[in-house]
């Protein structure tokens, strides 16, 4: 057996992060992630936004952090930094921000002067995230999700956890420029499957695939 080595690491090339959803050519690098770099003219579009920062927070449901975040369970809203705060469970939030900002988000949360214990876990790598934008989005989702996505039951700024194509998925209504849009995130290992199912059911609705930048994040 060789002698134990304690010399420390040799210089390494910059690591490349990859989404669980296969990228399509052409590709680009955003914040160290390989992403699809294309646009789509389709009226309903699907984009892989897995590189976005996803920070999971646990705290008391009615405590100081809940008051500071000011987003209740099943609701979603953006903070002053443009981070989307989703009330993903009782006493549970998922904060979605620009790629590469998970540390900043976690830092801001840690800096909050709250007199309770909060748990912050960076789930950027643990969650696959796609955005489905377009008028046919809810029709498309009606083939894979049993929940009523009508305007009166799930308006912009709401979220819920449900089954999408039999995958436990967090579904967030997050309209873009007045166009109906959903964010869907699930645990990473099912991401490729979920995206493929959405693409398949979307064929009947003319679903297009667009890249990370084109989706406007």
């Amino acid at each position: 057996m060789a002698e134990p080595t304690t010399a420390g690491p040799a210089p390494q090339p910059e690591p490349l992060a990859r989404s669980p959803i296969p990228t399509l050519t052409p590709t680009a690098i955003v914040a160290g992630w390989e992403v699809t770099d294309r646009s789509s003219d389709a009226s309903t579009r699907l984009a892989d936004l897995s590189p976005l920062a996803k920070v999971h927070v646990r705290a008391s449901e009615d405590g100081a952090l809940a008051a500071a975040l000011d987003v209740r369970f099943l609701k979603a809203a953006r903070d002053d930094y443009g981070v989307l705060i989703t009330g993903s469970g009782p006493g549970e939030w998922t904060l979605i921000g620009p790629a590469g900002t998970a540390g900043d988000i976690a830092g801001r949360l840690s800096a909050l002067d709250v007199d309770e214990r909060i748990t912050i876990v960076d789930l950027t790598h643990g969650r696959a995230l796609v955005r489905l934008t377009g008028d046919a989005g809810s029709t498309l989702l009606a083939t894979v999700c049993a929940v009523d996505l009508d305007e009166h039951t799930m308006p912009d700024g709401t979220c819920l956890r449900t089954s999408v194509a039999r995958v436990v998925t967090d579904l967030v209504r997050d309209d873009r420029d007045g166009v109906r849009s959903y964010l869907l995130h699930c645990e990473r290992s099912s991401g490729a499957y979920l995206a493929e199912q959405l693409r398949q059911v979307g064929e009947a609705h003319g679903l297009g695939v667009e890249g990370f930048a084109a989706a406007g994040r």
Binding site: P4, A10, R58, T143, D150
Partner: protein, 945 residues
């Protein structure tokens, strides 16, 4: 009016005002191999009827010729095969160019079916004959089975599903669902939509309109207005679709038979309020000869003439008891048919219908015999109350109108149209509009019926005006016996015989005779069957009651029930590499894992001699934070956890309350209040729920946050004597044995990736590092390690090699070396269980097990013959009695022999004991119990290196 002279369309009429055929689109198809022509919009039977075809099938039991009866989906004698698709409803399905249509279940031909011989022995085939015959001798049962299978109805399904078949499901949540797209349904839907409701309107026919479609010009004008109203509204319309069932919570199954691009789609509809406007089904008249080709319902001839421009005969006898029959007479006369009318309201009747292969005449009520080729009956209606029954209604028979009426319904189901009563069209539409408005109000107003308790109330109190009832003669059976169930060949005489044999209720007679149990499922037959039972028992129809309507109302294909196949698949970040490098996939639950890369034995040797790397991403990982984590671990694991230092890792076993081994894994302490727990791959989700269950229900005061992070990390195990050499240049963690010893955890950088977790543990029995890296970088780290290990002989290994390595080392797998009865003491874990702890899950049972002793224990075994590898689950026997089993076995590449783990009774567990292993092929071999569970390196020197 004269019959058109288009070649091949001998009875096609000149254009009709409401016809649905497109005369500019004419095409060919075949019927039993003979070419015919159709227009776009023709049904299979309308096209064939236009060509003069009258017989479409042979009946189930007596092989009697059958033709059009209803000219609708329900037509019992018009089920045909279309290309490779069996059991197509020929009077509903629209024919397409080039299709080959054939008669089903006839041999050698429709004209000369061999089963016609049954007609000669018909008197022996009375109701329930199959309960009394084919019983003895028992040795002939297989022969009986083969013969009887020849009589089974139905076409020929292809051996494999054609690629063209596409099925799907979807979900819909309208405020108001309207079942039935006749005038009442259309009006109700529009009214609900105008009141702000989201409305789904479902119609079984190909177009909206109900009976207005085949009505006169006045009806067609009203229909045009109603269709315009629907088109101008936001109502979602599904035609060629049917509401097949109603379930709790106002959940409805809607079958769409012509959704774009699909063979069939099942839509699960959760409706706020449902309006049932399913209308009425015309009831056949039971009289001798009523099944002959050429006997049609009045609605059938109106459909044929007005929708498809088909002249159904030349000389007709019409028995009419209502305006629909009168309208049929007018249509027939307009089509140039000579009509003999028997008005039941004035005492007219028919005694029997004459003919063999088709109608040739009728004996009417006064005894005269009238020659004809067409008999039309308009003798009453069956209320389609199925959905109402499914909503809890118990419809009551109203003798005045000779049909059933709804009685009481929940607030989330309303009824309108002909189901609710009779009136002129304007009044019916008023009622429908009121129903639509009420439904919209109930479904959309605050405090609506959605989610609220649903009182059941009498229909007359349901805030809707009651519709009047128009008297109708009660006509079920004529002076002679005839067929009641055309699908099952059950006659009124059969039902009378069943009653005479003691089956004297509707439910019993139904089951004994199979009346109402055929493809039309009672829609044509139920009331006539009940009437026959009532007549035979001397009670009223109301007293006899109906049989129970259950879902589905209409047939649903298995394809639609299955829908699109959603089978979630989970893969690790390194899956692309595995695929490129020839990994044999192993399906492990939802995970796809590399089983091996071609030579699992070589992979084992690489780990033992050099270094190997395996993708272990599926291992469950839970992030635990909070001051009470030690208490949680102490509660759930059987061993002790209060003194686990930061940077240390400990193996633990969880048991259920019954002491049975539930899961195992290691937990490392990353910080004062921060732990990372691993579980088995298959147990990841279950253990998370297990922990949350204990925290939320039993220990809600404990301050612990659990976050599942299984796939936040790509996990890989670098194992083998050279693993340290491979990893060291790539990490800032000091890997020296003193700095990072066995069962320790560190965090650091690997291959320039920060926030990695390194565990020094050894499932394979070798010096190894389990590396958990942020998943997005998993492939990068994996490829970097392989590149760095190239000079050290690194080799990727799969699950098969891992299983062999751990077996050589004697490490158990929960669920393989244990089962649903294996308590910790029987799993070789007795030393791990700390019964001196104040409490932990399963302790009482384990204390009891210790007191009474184990009934079996896990031991390592080696066959005396080193070439033998007893298959897993081989039995360990004593004097022919099974006392244990082999739980794991492999040929060890390291030792060059078979090695096993097995459960044996305590008296066979002593090292050196010879046990008999019975192999699946019946041979017995001898194996020897080993000193340690580990076959390789029992001292653990290699993994601690």
């Amino acid at each position: 009016m004269t019959a058109a002279t288009t070649p091949g369309a001998a009875t096609r009429l000149d254009p009709q005002p409401g016809e649905v055929i497109d005369r500019t689109d004419r095409f060919a198809f075949t019927w039993n191999g003979v070419e015919h022509h159709a227009y776009r919009g023709d049904t299979i039977t309308s096209a064939l009827a236009a060509a003069g075809v009258r017989v479409f099938s042979r009946s189930f039991k007596y092989s009697r010729p059958r033709g059009i009866l209803t000219a609708s989906y329900l037509d019992p004698g018009c089920t045909v095969q279309v290309d490779d698709e069996p059991n197509v409803r020929g009077s509903h399905r629209r024919i397409a160019p080039g299709q080959a249509v054939t008669a089903q279940n006839v041999w050698p031909s429709l004209d000369r079916d061999v089963k016609m011989a049954n007609q000669a022995v018909g008197r022996f085939l009375t109701a329930g004959f199959y309960y009394k015959t084919f019983i003895k001798p028992q040795r002939l049962w297989p022969t009986y089975q083969r013969v009887l299978q020849r009589f089974a109805a139905g076409g020929t399904a292809p051996d494999t599903a054609p690629d063209r078949l596409r099925y799907d499901k979807r979900y819909a949540h309208p405020d108001v669902l309207v079942a039935g797209g006749g005038p009442a349904g259309m009006k109700a839907a529009v009214a609900a939509a105008k009141h702000g409701a989201k409305v789904l309107l479902v119609e079984e026919e190909h177009e909206l309109g109900g009976h207005l479609r085949y009505g006169d010009t006045g009806d067609l004008d009203r229909l045009a207005l109603l269709r315009a109203e629907v088109a101008a509204s936001d109502v979602e319309v599904l035609t060629d679709a049917v509401v097949a069932g109603r379930y709790d919570g106002n959940l409805f199954a809607v079958v769409e038979r012509s959704a774009p691009g699909l063979t069939e789609r099942l839509t699960k509809v959760r409706a706020g309020v449902a309006i049932v406007a399913a209308g009425l089904i015309e009831r056949p008249y039971v009289v001798e000869g009523n099944d002959l080709p050429g006997v049609l319902l009045s609605t059938a001839v109106r459909r044929l003439i007005n929708l498809h421009a088909v002249k159904p005969g030349n000389r007709a006898v019409v028995l009419t008891a209502n305006p629909q029959g009168d309208a049929a007479i007018a249509d027939l006369q307009r089509a140039g048919v000579q009509v003999w009318a028997e008005d039941a309201r004035a005492g007219g009747d028919i005694v029997r219908i004459l003919g063999r292969g088709g109608v040739v005449g009728v004996e009417v009520g006064d005894g005269r015999k009238v020659p004809c080729d067409l008999v039309v009956t308009a003798t009453g209606w069956t209320a389609t109350t199925s959905l109402l029954n499914m909503a809890g209604d118990r419809p009551v028979y109203e003798p005045r109108i000779a049909r059933f009426l709804p009685s009481q319904l929940p607030d989330d189901v309303l009824v309108t149209g002909g189901l609710a009563g009779d009136d002129d069209l304007d009044e019916l539409l008023d009622h429908a509009r009121a129903a639509g408005e009420l439904a919209a109000e109930r479904a959309t107003e605050p405090g609506s019926v959605r989610g609220a308790a649903l009182p059941v109330r009498p229909i007359v109190d349901a805030c809707l005006p009651a519709l009047p009832l128009h008297d109708h003669p009660a006509m079920f059976r004529g002076p002679t016996h005839g067929f009641v169930d055309f699908s099952e060949d059950v006659g009124s005489k059969d039902l009378a015989a069943a009653v005479a044999e003691g089956y004297d209720s509707s439910e019993l007679a139904k089951r004994y005779t199979t009346a109402t149990m055929g493809p039309s499922q009672g829609k044509l037959e139920t009331v006539n069957a009940v009437a026959a039972v009532a007549e035979a028992t001397g009670i009223t129809i109301g007293q006899a009651g109906t049989t129970t309507w259950r879902p589905p109302y209409a047939p649903i294909t298995l394809g639609a029930l299955a829908g699109r196949n959603f089978e979630p698949v989970r893969v690790s970040p390194m899956q692309p590499w595995h695929e490129v490098h020839g990994a044999a996939p192993l399906v492990a639950g939802a995970w796809i894992r590399p089983d091996h890369y071609g030579d699992p034995a070589a992979e084992v040797r690489a780990v033992r001699d050099e270094v190997g790397i395996i993708d272990v991403t599926p291992i469950g990982k839970l992030d635990l934070q909070g001051p009470d984590v030690p208490n949680l671990l102490e509660l759930l694991y059987v061993n002790k956890w209060q003194k686990l230092d930061v940077g240390r890792v400990r193996y633990g076993v969880m048991c259920a309350e019954d002491g049975v081994v539930l899961d195992d894994g290691v937990t490392g302490r990353l910080g004062p209040d921060h732990y990372l727990m691993s579980t088995t791959s298959s147990g990841a989700a279950g253990i998370w729920e297990w922990i949350e269950n204990w925290l939320q229900t039993e220990r809600p005061g404990w301050d612990v946050h659990v976050t599942p992070v299984t796939t936040a990390y790509a996990s890989m195990n670098l194992a083998g004597p050279r693993s340290r050499d491979v990893l060291a240049p790539l990490t800032d963690v000091d890997l020296s044995a003193d700095a990072f010893g066995y069962m320790h955890v560190r965090t650091g950088t690997i291959a320039a990736v920060e926030d990695c977790v390194l565990w020094r543990i050894g499932f394979t029995g070798e010096l190894s590092y389990e590396l958990h890296v942020p998943a997005g970088y998993g492939l990068h780290v994996w490829e970097t390690l392989l590149a760095a290990g190239a000079d050290h002989g690194i080799r990727a290994f799969g699950v098969e090699a891992q299983r062999t390595l751990r077996l050589e080392k004697g490490h158990l797998i929960v669920g393989q070396d244990t089962d649903g009865l294996t308590k910790a003491g029987s799993a070789g874990l007795g030393g791990l269980v700390k019964l001196d702890k104040p409490n932990f899950v399963g302790k009482p049972e384990l204390v009891w097990q210790q007191e009474v002793g184990v009934t079996s224990t896990l031991v390592a075994l080696q066959p005396v013959d080193p070439t033998e590898v007893p298959p897993e689950a081989s039995q360990i026997v004593v004097a022919g009695r099974t006392v244990g089993r082999i739980t794991s076995s492999r040929r060890s590449p390291t030792l060059g022999r078979g090695v096993c783990l097995g459960q044996v009774p305590p008296d066979l567990a002593a090292p050196g004991t010879h046990v008999t292993v019975r192999l699946p092929d019946g041979r017995d071999i001898v194996a020897v119990v080993q000193q340690h569970l580990a076959h390789v390196d029992p001292e653990g020197a290699r993994l601690r290196g």
